[in-house]
Amino acid sequence: MIPLRLSPAALAGFVAVALLPWLVRYAFAASEKYYLHLLVQILLWAFIYTGWSLMGRFGLTSLGHGAFTGIGAYVTVLLWNYGGISPWLGIPIAVLAATVVGVLVGYPCFRLRITGHYFALLTLALTEFVRLCIVGLRDYTGGSLGTQPTRHGDGISLTAMQFEPDRVLSFYIAFALWLFGLYVWRLVDRSMDRYALEAASQDEDAAASVGIDVTREKLKIIALSSAMCALGGAVFGQYQMYIGPDTIAGLGTSLNMVFAVVAGGIGVMLGPTVGAVFTQVLSEGLRVIIQNSATIKGLLGSAALALDSAIYGLLLILFIIYMPKGILGTLLDKRR
């Protein structure tokens, strides 16, 4: 274990984030719940995106992480709803299940050196497979309409890990998760595995020739990455109190992960977080602007609902062409 040695600036930053609920309380007292909800979403997605970027930064572009978040969320909720198993036990089971799936798919991929396009398309198939299973098991999962964890009493429940009515509590849970994600990212960044994986992403043969067990290294990182995404998906389901194949599983979720990380910056610790802030603020901001603007509404009618996705898509194209290092990556480069 590497001791946590925080620079004063980083410490100040974390304290500032931790104090955000107070800021919201005084600055936006009227819509405190809404802003806290936004913050919780950002932090939870930032955690999931960080999990994706663990392997994404080494050229392992997976479109399969929507499967891992889906497994995390669904296994947890189904165990609770049908087995009465508390998420305290259910989440570890779900995380383990996702990790096993990740390793099962990863092992042959890495042994056979399936990389690049092939890896992306193969993991895309995994996402589709898991989504179809969710839809197919509609008697339990509610099919494409999704399902809800059964409420355990009113309000907050420790046993059922239901904390959504208390937004401040939710914020600190998401905050803790996010810090944990950054810590894991840091651990990987400081480890020998990082250098091994970087070497392997440049040239597998050369890496193998200097004694790096490429398959093993890649398996370690996919296990870690899928576990994190499953944990994020599970907590996301507990917070939303709703899970649907399109909100927490499926190709859309996978693509969102990839794009948010690319937009934020793939090789830097806070890149995925910046990506989460950017995408959430963009979609929410556009939604608010559209709702309040009679001109846009008059011009587009109900079609305005898709405007944010259209702008999102355009921005992604521009980012990849003109700013492949993402927002944070480019800013850091400029400072140097």
């Binding site: 991929c109 396009h117 589709e128 497979f129 179809l132 299973c133």
Partner: protein, 289 residues
Amino acid sequence: MDCHLDVFFLEALLNGVLLAGLLALLALGLNLVFGVIDVVWICYAELVMVGMYGIHHAYKGGAPFLVAMAIGIVLVAAAAALLHLLVIRPVLETPPINQLLVTGGVLFFLQAAATMAFGVEFRNLGISLGSYNVLDMSFSRSRILSFGVALLGMLALWLFLKRTYLGTAIRAIAQDRQIMPLMGVDSKKIYLVTSAIGGGLAGLAAGLMVLNYDIYPQIGLQFGPLIFMICVLGGLGNMIGGFLAAFVISQFIAVGSSCFHTEWGYAVAFLFFMIAIFFRPQGLFGGKS
């Protein structure tokens, strides 16, 4: 589960063959583009969707169906050429995965743009060609027509690639992207033409899709993963492999859907795909890796 070797099973089997023709045509354009330019258009199915809307509007606007279909082909070919010029060309020299991701941005954009322009409701042309009934089996005529046209489209592409000068240049570029420009082949032009042809094939497929399926903005998500799977299973860039893979995959879907629920047919197809790739990473029918 009620799966017996009876006439319904045979019906499912034969419908699977008909579906395969359409899927093979869909995979063909993507395979051509991948084989020549080495780019995967994640937004390929969305191009088909654009073509479907174009055909729908032309037809509802009064154009005869064949004219509407021609408009659709030209429209998608132009869209594909634009895609290449505006989006792919700037990232051609960057890591391959960037090219895949950038077309993912196009996917989001096209889907959202279609939702804004046409709304989320399902549309169809309202053309019904009826069906043939043989014994107790029924086959929709539009499916049979699609199958025939798909085969003709593939034959036309094959002749074009084998018999024309441009086709030969395209095949040459596909074999060696570094050397051929030195031999005087203008790779920029070839890439552009190939993209347009790939788009044209997507447009042709769109013309057949509108006869069989409802049009809605998310239709790409239903067909896209399937098309990628067929291409990879046949060996990316390998057109004959893709053609054969379409038959394998469509059997899973057709038979699976008739025996179980529709999703299970698809789910089993995806599972089979993953396992098959683990045994033959170069694709079921791929020779070269």
